[in-house]
């Protein structure tokens, strides 16, 4: 019950902000759009058309409570398929990033777990990776692997953006998770298992990762927003048609129906993943 209340509370707040922010624009939003954007229309009929497309003919409260309008202001294409396609692209990028990042983080954690000397080394590596944000690594990776070595196409391929994003996230994830695991280490049965001759990998997996899996799932569920944040920049660098690029493009054009729908979708994904993480944590580690 608390789970549903929390989700609906925050989601309604995001919904109100996304649907109501249009009224914060100076004057009539349609006039503002005509002045600021590339819409080449100015007669009354067109203003009425913009009002209709942006649901502005409805009273403010009714507009805020209703679903966003169905079509883009510029291409007149339905917003739903646009968001769906962009979401699928973003999901593919996110899945690849998660695989790389998750894999690298766990390899670093395992190697660091084996000895303190290696832990210091991987700590240094993670600090190094966390100091290379995507706006630094993106152009470098693009220049080396695409323009110089010609191994991957510069645009339209998810591998380079995924690697670029995964490198940065690994740096942060390793730092956060090694701290969490180090706190757990003294109370776990690791020393006993090691003395019984259980293999290092089994000890790592079953005596360290498995007992704190609830906390780890919660941590990763909260990282979806971080992943989407990073994907916006890599999508801009590598021109990957995901939600980030769609939203950035819509913001540049002031395409409000797309912005509103995109914001609501992105928030819903993040909040659902966070709540799912909390729910799973409570199931795995009941307090």
């Amino acid at each position: 019950m608390k789970f549903l209340l929390r989700l609906s509370l925050v989601f309604s707040l995001v919904w109100i902000v996304a649907r109501g922010a249009i009224y914060l624009l100076p004057g009539d939003p349609a006039d503002y759009l005509i002045q600021e954007s590339l819409i080449r229309i100015s007669d009354d009929k067109s203003i009425a058309e913009i009002h209709r497309k942006m649901d502005l003919e409805k009273p403010p409260l009714q507009r805020i409570l209703s679903f966003p309008s169905g079509n883009s202001l510029f291409s007149d294409a339905p917003v739903k398929p646009m968001i769906r396609d962009a979401f699928l692209h973003s999901a593919m990028l996110a899945a690849l990033t998660l695989v790389f990042s998750f894999g690298m983080t766990f390899v670093f954690l395992y190697l660091g777990f084996r000895s303190e000397r290696w832990e210091n080394f991987w700590n240094a590596v993670s600090i190094l990776l966390a100091s290379i944000p995507v706006f630094i690594s993106g152009p470098i990776i693009l220049f080396v692997f695409s323009l110089q070595l010609d191994l991957f196409p510069a645009t339209g391929h998810p591998l380079l953006p995924a690697i670029c994003l995964a490198l940065y996230l690994t740096g942060f994830w390793f730092r956060s998770l090694s701290g969490k695991i180090r706190k757990y280490l003294p109370v776990s049965a690791v020393a006993g298992a090691r003395s019984r001759g259980v293999g290092e990998f089994r000890v790592f997996l079953f005596y360290l990762i498995a007992p704190c899996s609830g906390g780890l799932i919660r941590f990763f569920s909260g990282q979806i927003g971080n992943l989407l944040n990073g994907s916006l920049i890599v999508e801009l660098i590598f021109k990957w048609n995901g939600l980030g690029l769609l939203l950035a493009d819509a913001v540049a054009k002031r395409d409000y129906p797309v912005i509103e729908s995109g914001l609501i979708t992105v928030s819903l994904i993040t909040l659902l993943s966070l709540q799912a993480g909390i729910w799973l944590e409570n199931r795995l580690e009941p307090k």
């Binding site: 608390k2 929390r6 509370l9 925050v10 707040l13 995001v14 922010a21 249009i22 914060l24 624009l25 600021e36 210091n120 700590n123 240094a124 600090i127 190094l128 966390a130 100091s131 290379i132 944000p133 706006f135 630094i136 993106g138 152009p139 470098i140 693009l142 220049f143 323009l147 569920s221 909260g222 979806i224 927003g225 971080n226 989407l228 944040n229 916006l232 920049i233 801009l236 660098i237 939600l243 980030g244 939203l247 950035a248 819509a250 913001v251 540049a252 002031r254 409000y256 912005i259 995109g262 914001l263 992105v266 928030s267 993040t270 909040l271 993943s273 966070l274």
Partner: protein, 254 residues
């Protein structure tokens, strides 16, 4: 231990020399503003014929000057808000936790970019976006500190004796929070640098008279094939600066 000592010394030396060089370049470098199309896209020069190294040095000063007041305002706002962490009412705590947890996990960067569509004036949107991106993280950090402090015996006894919350906050909690802020300052600066550069990289801010790190990186990306040195001269000092701040933060933390 010895290695980390060398790295820390390197970080501190880099930060010192780089910022001295940046300030000298900014004060005496009339060259920064010089547009000379004859040398455009030659090695070390951008498409407008400006010296990339001097531009990068000046961008460092500009970015630092912008993030320092923003960081201080964020800390002030968070300290004021963290007083509410002392409220014990169950309903309030539920809403308070739900709000900050959601704000922390929502993709703040995408939200901040979307702000520009509704508030076109970047003088307002930029600080708001930075606040939006940093505040949830700072609130969580301070809340953690306050929860740890509240478990201390003398504070529990003060509460049981009926000490008012404001008094507790002013006398016992605020000094500890300021101390904790000092400890996370290097990490906070690096985080602010990343936020500022990301936002300017995606073009959220109106370009100023001189370029910032984000604008230079964006320019470097546009001319990656013709002039990769624009990216190199900007990315390398930024990377070394972030690396230094992260290392110092790690060292202070451990």
């Amino acid at each position: 231990m010895r290695k980390s000592g060398i790295l820390i010394r390197f970080s501190k030396t880099w930060l010192l020399f780089f910022f001295i060089a940046s300030i000298i370049a900014s004060v005496f470098g009339e060259e920064i503003q010089r547009h000379d199309l004859e040398r455009a896209l030659r090695f070390g020069f951008d498409p407008f014929g400006r010296n990339c190294l001097l531009l990068s040095l000046h961008a460092a000063v500009r970015s630092m000057l912008e993030i320092i007041p923003l960081g201080l305002s964020c800390i002030a706002v968070t300290l004021a808000l963290s007083f509410l962490c002392l409220v014990r009412n169950g309903t309030f705590r539920f809403f308070w936790n739900a709000l900050w947890e959601a704000l922390y996990s929502l993709p703040g960067f995408i939200m901040a970019i979307s702000l520009t569509a509704f508030f076109p004036d970047s003088r307002i949107t930029f600080p708001v976006a930075v606040l939006f991106l940093l505040l949830p993280w700072l609130i969580r950090f301070f809340e953690g500190q306050i929860l740890a402090l509240m478990n201390r015996e003398y504070l529990r006894q003060s509460i049981s004796l009926g000490a008012p919350s404001l008094h507790l906050f002013r006398i016992h909690i605020l000094p500890e929070l300021l101390d904790a802020t000092r400890a996370i300052l290097p990490f906070l600066i690096s985080r602010l640098l990343i936020i500022e550069t990301s936002l300017t990289f995606v073009g959220m801010k109106q370009p100023g008279e001189t370029a910032s790190w984000g604008e230079l990186l964006h320019l470097g990306k546009e001319y990656l094939l013709e002039a990769p040195w624009i990216s190199f001269f900007t990315a390398l000092p930024l990377f070394l600066t972030l690396f230094s701040f992260h290392l110092i933060s790690r060292n202070d933390h451990s």
